[in-house]
């Protein structure tokens, strides 16, 4: 066991996978020098420039060329420097990667991973803060993962690299160096599509993912101590496919569901979770399916004061828990 932060965990996952399988390459902007978040630090020394390739500044081509390479025996990990700059590659992800297997009647496949840092809380302003998971969770043919802890990041990234489908791998950038965690030394994977109950509870099911998992755990702690309310916190970890079974099982047990996500409230991924609970656990509900998310303004303004005002935080989550608990 060794203590690692999330960037180190991500670094190690790729490093170990590239050692294991020489079909795997990394491509993206500045990855040769280690990447702006240092996820590929030392890769060129170990694997050479061909397997850790600096690309021109052209996101559509980064993803598009990765798709092409994947058709010809390479397993590319494409790094998009910030999720906010993945939009030029939207077409490649939605029209190409996601549809290739389907449109060819299962005869072509596209084993790529597109890694990108996402999320706010780091004074990134409106172009270094966006949550993009809902765009891609909406698209059949892609898998979408959101990680915000070192252990999950390593295990899920390994699964993503080994998955034969295109995977969008979203790394919450505030979690990159915010905390360290014990990580097993050997190889391990976490199945894509499996949520984890990060805290057991009996009064309310709180469903969340990404950085909001940490805020939610804090809020749950507060409620336990101050109100004696027992909150179960489920981290989805994967938003497509997502672990409906675990979520519904928990809601059927507690009778109350609070969904917390960082993205804009309208059409955010939590809306899908809420709709599913409303439909499939209706008979068990003992209060309104409730969401805490960001208001519908571009996420996020640069000023710390404005950003804090917009984003969900432990206090806002605690307040929502109290309201829901009162039913």
């Amino acid at each position: 066991m060794a203590e690692k932060n999330m960037v180190e965990a991500i670094h190690d996952a790729m490093f170990e996978e590239m050692k294991r399988d020489d079909r795997i390459i990394v491509m993206g902007e500045d990855v040769g020098e280690g990447g702006v978040f240092r996820a590929t630090d030392g890769f060129v020394a170990e694997f050479g420039e061909e397997r850790c390739m600096d690309t021109p500044l052209a996101e559509s081509c980064i993803v598009g060329a990765a798709i092409g390479a994947s058709l010809n025996g390479i397993i590319p990990i494409a790094e998009i420097q910030f999720a906010d700059f993945s939009h030029p590659a939207f077409d490649q992800l939605v029209s190409e990667a996601a549809r290739l297997h389907y449109r060819s009647n299962g005869t072509w496949s596209c084993p790529i991973v597109v890694r990108t840092p996402y999320g706010s809380g780091i004074h990134g302003g409106p172009y270094h803060s966006q949550s993009i998971e809902a765009f891609y969770a909406h698209v059949p043919g892609l898998k979408v993962i959101c990680v915000a802890s070192p252990y999950d990041a390593k295990g899920l990234l390994k699964s993503a690299i080994r998955d034969p489908n295109p995977v969008v791998f979203l790394e919450h950038k505030k979690a990159y160096r915010a905390f360290r965690q014990e990580i097993p030394d050997g190889d391990y994977t976490i199945p894509i599509g499996q949520a984890e109950t990060k805290r057991e509870g009996s009064d309310i099911s709180l469903i969340t993912y990404g950085m909001m998992t940490h805020h939610s755990l804090k809020a749950a702690e507060t409620l336990e101590q101050e109100d004696g309310t027992s909150v179960e916190v489920i981290d989805l970890r994967t938003v497509s496919p997502w672990d409906k079974e675990r979520v519904l099982g928990s809601v059927k047990k507690t009778g109350k569901a609070l969904i917390v996500y960082e993205d804009n409230i309208t059409g955010g991924f939590g809306a899908e979770v809420a709709a599913t609970i409303a439909q499939d656990a209706f008979d068990y509900l003992d209060g309104p399916v409730t969401r805490v998310a960001s208001p519908d303004v571009p996420i996020s303004p640069y000023s710390g004061i404005l950003e804090e005002y917009i984003l969900p935080n432990p206090e806002k989550i605690a307040e929502a828990i109290r309201k829901l608990a009162a039913y």
């Binding site: 598009g64 390479a69 994947s70 010809n72 072509w108």
Partner: protein
């Protein structure tokens, strides 16, 4: 019979190869016409074909190694698909979206050619998104030390996209074994090429990417073949990419949903009909004593028969099972019905 060596301009092709070229062009023409006819008969909801482009398509596909080199075509490339090895039946099954359609099992529109065994890569409808794929495939060939090359096709309109630029730039930087073929038929649906780019020959863009570009008469199959052969040799030598622009004209509307009388004068269409690449090549074959009238007629009959038989077979083929619409969203997973 004259020996081929004596035929000037035959580009080193044997008599059989010269006739094979003609046959492939005929087949492409016949399949295109057939698809448009089936559409008018109400049997296939949509047709997009390439009549007029045959010299450019067959001439560029001919120097390639089928199933070895990679083809990343666009929707007009019936002649490319047939030259590489798809059959009229393959294309007609796709046209009628039958179960056995190798390209997509009835999921994609017709003329979205795909066949992994032939290294023909499935494409989408957004124009030129396949350009980075061709670059990526060629990158993989290079990384893996394979003696393959990739060929990517689009029209004059496709050259205006960001992906076209991004992919050519990428191919230039990495000196990739890829050939970009532009089928410049002077229109992107109704938009004239003068509104598409401000240069006469789009091939000059190649210089900006650091590899050679060439413009050829796209209705002269042997000129096309020669230009392609040179590009293929360059790629195989490891000397990188080439941009080939063929100037041509589509002799039919953009698709079965288009009425080209709105934007093209009949005189203009007439003029280009006079430059029909099939007629031109047929005359060349006769003038150079490669084949006589009777031999060429027999090839026409043969192509017609082949396409008739394929049509009959395709029409009899079963339609896809409705529930197959849920298959192949992700590998090894099927959505619950």
């Amino acid at each position: 019979m004259v020996s081929v060596k004596e035929i000037t301009g035959a580009e080193g092709l044997s008599r059989d190869q010269l006739l094979d070229l003609y046959y492939k062009m005929l087949l492409a023409r016949t399949v295109g016409q057939r698809e448009r006819m089936l559409n008018r008969m109400g049997k296939g909801p949509f047709a997009v074909t390439g009549e007029g482009h045959e010299a450019l398509q067959v001439g560029t596909a001919y120097p390639l190694k089928p199933g070895h080199d990679w083809i990343v075509p666009y929707y007009r490339d019936i002649g490319v698909a047939l030259t590489i090895g798809q059959t009229p039946l393959d294309l007609l099954l796709a046209h009628l979206s039958r179960e056995g359609d190798i390209s997509s099992g009835g999921r994609n529109m017709p003329s979205h050619f795909s066949d992994p065994r032939l290294h023909i890569v499935s494409g989408s409808a957004p124009v030129a998104t396949h350009f980075p794929h061709a670059a990526g495939i060629a990158l993989a060939s290079k990384l893996r030390g394979l003696d393959e090359l990739s060929v990517c096709y689009t029209g004059d309109g496709g050259t205006s996209t960001g992906d076209c630029h991004e992919a050519m730039n990428f191919a230039g930087v990495h000196k990739l074994p890829v050939i970009f073929v532009i089928e410049n038929n002077q229109y992107a649906i109704s938009v004239h090429v003068r509104k598409q780019f401000a240069v006469e020959d789009i091939s000059i863009r190649a210089e900006g990417y650091g590899f050679p570009g060439v413009t050829v008469d796209g209705n002269d199959v042997l000129a096309v073949y020669a230009a392609m052969k040179e590009a293929v040799d360059r790629a195989r030598r490891g000397d990188g990419a080439t941009l080939i622009e063929g100037k041509t004209y589509r002799l039919v509307p953009h698709t079965s949903d288009d009425d080209d009388r709105r934007y093209r004068s009949r005189e203009e269409v007439e003029e280009w009909t006079g430059k029909d690449p099939l007629v031109r090549y047929r005359n060349w074959l006769k003038e150079n004593d490669v084949a006589d009238e009777a031999k060429l007629d027999s090839l026409h009959e043969h192509a017609a028969r082949e396409v008739d038989e394929a049509t009959e077979q395709a029409e009899k083929a079963p339609t896809p099972k409705p529930e197959s619409a849920l298959d192949h969203v992700l590998i090894e997973e099927r959505l619950a019905g």
